[in-house]
Each structure stands twice: as C-alpha cells, then as structure tokens.
Symmetry: C2
Subunit: 153 residues, 2 copies
DNA sequence: GGTGAAAGACATCCCAC
DNA sequence: GTGGGATGTCTTTCACC
C-alpha cells in the first residue's frame, strides 16, 4: 500500500508543502518533468494517502486566537473507559489543536489556542469539569520561533 | 490593517481550513453567497494576511518521519547573542517542525519529527553540538489523538 | 452586495511512445 | 513509466444592476 517515493516525488512534496496553490505547470518545471507526468504523480500520492489534504492556513492572531498554551497532563486513571472519554472530550473542544499521548513521566501534552489568559482559564474549567486528571500545568507561548506543517523530506 | 471578519468570512475560513482544494463555487454555495462575492472575500483575506497560505499536508508516517518528539529545554544563557544563535539553529534544522519560547520554568519547547529513536539521538547530538543548554529532555508521542492546522473560529 | 459574460488558465483524460 | 494534444471546468476580471 505504501508508495515508494523517489527523489522526484519528494521534490514535488517539498514544493506542495510550501505552497499548494501553485499550478501543476509550475511544479513540473521545478522538478523537470512534463505537466502530465507530474500531475499523475500528485494524483497517485493523493490516492495512496501520502498527501492527506490541502488546507488554508489562517493567522491565529488575526482571527482572535493569538495565545497558544502547552498543557502538560499527568493522570492516574489509565483504564480504557477514562481514555475513551478523555479523547472524545479533546476532539470536541475546538481550542485543542493538538493532543498527544506521550512516553515518560508526562502522560499527555496538549496544544491549545485561545484569545487570552482568561479564555484559557475558561477552557481549563471546561476541561477539568469533564475529565479528572491528577496533575495539569500550562505554559504559554511567548514567541513562535518556528511552526511549520512541512514534514522533513 | 486587520480585517474585521463577519460570520460569513468565518464560515469561508472554516471551510478552507478543512479543504483548500475545493472550488469557489462549492464554498459560495455553503456560505450562501454568490461565486463572485465569495471570491472577493477570499482574495481580501489573502491580501490582509488572514489567510497566510495554502499547503499540502503529508502523512509523516508514509515519508519516513513517523516519530514525533516533544523536547523541553531549560537554559541559563538568556543573552541576545545566544538567543539569536539558538533561533538560527532551530530554523535550519528541518526535523524541527515547531519551536516555542515559553513562560514559566520551561524555557523552550520543540516539536521534532524523525524516523525513529536513533534518528532522534542523531538530531540531539547535532543540536547540542551547536548550542549549549543547561537541561534538555525529550518525550515521544505514542499516539496522536488530535493534530489539526485549523484555528478555532 | 448581485448577475452575467468573456478571457484565459488550468486540470483532466485519452492517445501514442 | 513518459510526453502531446483535445476537452471541459474553473478562476479571474470585466461592466453593470
């Protein structure tokens, strides 16, 4: 099922990860391929799931969510029921843009986008009222040095 | 400069954050607007920087970077020179997909994408050879419960 | 804000190699 | 697998209500 990618495929992906609005003509010129061969490779990678989609990126600061919090969570409930509830809760909260179950002494890390600190507090209350955690702490992002959707290739 | 967004603009953004490949016709139907008015709004939001770009999303597991590490860094060097070097280093390392300066007792958090644990170790060595940090610890993502580029609207 | 129309650019598919 | 050419769809810009 997994497509084997050659250097040309990777070049196409690198280009599309930076800008998905460019035409197939432009990409084919960059990777030294005909419009057609290039188009077929892109379609194949969409089909095989290498390319999962194309999305528009929105400036969080300009739509009222300039603050990002990293939330570190420890829990003592590790049963399946608790985990299912926890996951459902996280998926239903739009402020949560990332949620990861971790190795080590951290159990979960969340990335949360909110308007300001009071909005985070409001989110915090909604989260903790729906699920029980033994330890939760938040750090706020002061500066985004790097934040990219581009996977290293 | 900041565009004031009404509910229709937000509906357009919500749709484009999920799928940027759909035609203006489809979007205009969803938000109950003419093709033309819809197109003008999208262009205006691109112009004003609300929409920062359109990118293709690539499945990390299918291109050889299935492992994500969260790296927590503490430092005792807070001078401008060190910070500039640190930032340049992070930006030049493609494995680093996110780098954030934080509040609280964490100084920096990195999101790093690599092939496996040995690849992380290799990255770790390259990083620490180029910049000095007082404390660095990594946790690996076992499960991605949620990971979205969509800003809450 | 809406309509319609017209230009060109573009994606898409079929063919031959 | 590659490239060429035909076709229809979409974007983009116009003038106008």
């Amino acid at each position: 099922m997994t497509h084997i990618l050659d250097e040309t495929d990777r070049a196409i992906l690198r280009s599309l990860q930076i800008d998905a609005a460019q035409s197939v003509d432009d990409i084919s010129a960059k990777v030294h391929l005909s419009r057609n061969a290039c188009w077929r490779r892109i379609k194949a990678m969409e089909q095989s799931g290498v390319i999962t989609g194309r999305v528009a990126l929105v400036d969080p600061a300009k739509v009222g969510a300039p603050l990002t919090a990293m939330v570190l969570i420890r829990t003592n409930a590790h049963d399946a029921k608790w985990m299912a509830e926890f996951q459902t809760t996280l998926r239903s909260l739009p402020e949560v843009v990332g949620a990861y179950r971790m190795t080590g002494d951290l159990d979960y890390v969340l990335r949360v986008r909110v308007a300001d600190v009071p909005a985070y507090d409001n989110f915090y209350k909604r989260l903790t009222s729906r699920i029980s955690v033994s330890d939760i702490s938040a750090s706020f992002v002061m500066e985004e040095i790097k934040d990219t959707t581009a996977v290293p290739l």
